[in-house]
Assembly symmetry: C2
Homo-oligomer: 340 residues x 2
């Protein structure tokens, strides 16, 4: 559990006490709720009438929200813009699509409203999920787990020679954030050639960075194209017919960012044509896909149902990450995972 020790050791000094109302619309079981209550005391938690059960749900406006100084969960943009006392929103997800608009950013800046997300909580499971996709594809697990032929059969010989190694292969990561940074650490023993796309290179990156303009040669060389892009106006359908056609024949595409960043018709067409080797998706648009969606019957398309961020004690991790940031908020030091 992240920040477990920090949670347990957290006590407020009397002189720093300023009573605040913390709106929480994320449903917590008694255990993590107790951690939260004890960690923010004597500040007050306020709850909506109906709490969200998923970190991915969109909270609706709630009357109690107007009194909130801080929000922890998934408050709606409309309710945030109406809540005049609100100074900080801490999201229970890594994604923050609905806040990532020029309009919201302008409104937040005008009001000095801070938005943080929980990307640190999800970096490990999401990077491990991506890695699981890469390894399962390399070792052809979906086929190998269904194959029973002996070593004298052509099917066996074909499967064995189709099984590959990640070592020395080339990777392009679209989106350089917490997940990418962790994935790059995990890939280090495989001596791969890794390049990443970052909206605004900052110079603190550990691998070569390209912007969208310089992406085509990297895409053309990559054995693995990993999409961790958030969903916003710039990234919508970023993966389209043109970029898919520009990938190396046989390349493998992965998406654990947001489904809307991919034109799914173009993806299905590329897989059907045999140009793309396979696609591994944890996110789709919509989620789940309707029963008759073409991607469900597209060859070499493997889909998990947005479980990349899942891990044991997820609620505890989210609470402790919030509490870590709450301490920083009280001390007026920079918050972790600030996105706006």
């Amino acid at each position: 559990m992240l920040f477990g020790a920090a949670c347990a050791m957290f006590f407020l000094c009397p002189e720093s006490f300023v009573p605040m109302q913390i709106f929480c619309d994320y449903h917590l079981e008694p255990g993590p709720l107790k951690i939260l209550e004890e960690s923010v005391r004597p500040h007050k938690l306020i709850f909506p009438i109906k709490r969200e059960t998923s970190v991915l749900a969109t909270g609706q406006t709630d009357p109690s929200f107007a009194q909130a100084d801080i929000a922890f969960g998934q408050p709606s943009v409309a309710s945030v813009l109406k809540a005049e006392r609100l100074g900080w929103i801490h999201l229970t997800s890594a994604g923050y699509t609905r806040y990532d608009t020029p309009e919201f950013r302008a409104a937040a800046q005008a009001r000095r409203l801070i938005v943080t997300n929980s990307s640190r909580v999800y970096a490990e499971p999401c990077a491990e999920h991506l890695f699981a996709f890469m390894m399962a594809q390399a070792r052809k697990l979906p086929i190998a787990l269904q194959t029973r032929g002996g070593s004298d059969t052509p099917q066996w010989a074909q499967l064995r020679s189709a099984s590959s190694c990640l070592q020395y292969q080339r990777v392009v990561i679209l989106g350089y954030g917490s997940i990418a940074i962790r994935l790059i650490q995990m890939l280090a023993p495989f001596r791969m050639e890794i390049t990443a796309l970052r909206r605004q290179p900052k110079g603190d990156e550990t691998i070569p960075i390209v912007t969208a303009e310089a992406l085509p040669p990297a895409l053309a060389a990559a054995d693995h194209v990993i999409n961790i892009l958030p969903d916003n106006a710039d990234s919508r359908h970023f993966i389209d017919e043109k970029r898919l056609a520009g990938m190396k024949p046989g390349a493998i595409f992965y998406n654990i960012g947001r489904g809307a960043t991919v034109n799914q018709d173009d993806l299905a067409a590329s897989l059907h044509s045999g140009h793309l080797g396979a696609a591994w998706l944890d996110v789709t648009d919509p989620e789940p896909l309707p029963d008759d969606h073409p991607l469900l019957t597209t060859p070499n398309c493997y889909i998990t149902p947005h479980t990349a961020g899942g891990h044991p004690h997820e609620s505890e991790s989210l609470v402790c990450h919030f509490v870590e940031n709450f301490q920083r908020y009280l001390k007026q030091t920079p918050l972790l995972d600030r996105v706006i």
Copy 2:
């Protein structure tokens, strides 16, 4: 491809020339066969009438074998013991079960016969295959790839919280050789606690080593038990009812060594009882399992058909590894992957 440069640059000096006969019963396609012929010239390759198509097959005695100085492939123990000129056998597998007996070792020592295997060729794909098993289990891929429920369903919530991370977990590796060494490198970014069982600790290990006597506490603490044991008299049914019962409830068992090192009835019973969390096997006894074998319908038992060693250019890698050792043999320097 391993040792590609070494292969291409290999030329014999005239003064070291001693004509030898190299028996090869491993079937090679024209490309790797050409590499082999050019690399050993002016020494002579001799072939059996019917060559083996799999690295796992057992070669039968062949009349031409009696003339061999060196054997590259899978010669039978009987033919090796009869071939008086033979000084070195290089096996095309990592496994060497049938030579790993006190009788054969004594006969080899008396005749100064050297046996090397191809474990270096298989370390990377086998370690990656193991890693693929571990990641697929952690991220629950077999279930997740079949689940389409949305984020408001109990199935989804259950799957998401059952998905786990390798980070900080405990591992026991049974068998400390090339594959284990490579796997330990791969696991480094996950900050796991790793212990290995080694028949004869040598002091060059990078992690804590235990012998069979000191294994029980390590087994009891491990989240992951990884079996890479070779098959010999000591290791047969090494994983039995007692050792399975001594594992932590929910532990995951992996086997890419040899099927005979596991009592499969005991394994099935442990999985059925729910004590063991899951088993991932690339090897079974026999291979493939008969259609009515209980393991095929045992819950949480995932089997790939002995493809862990598979990788593109497998034949080229095997040839180049042999050629590397052939150079050493000519120069009388220590051979790589010597097992006897």
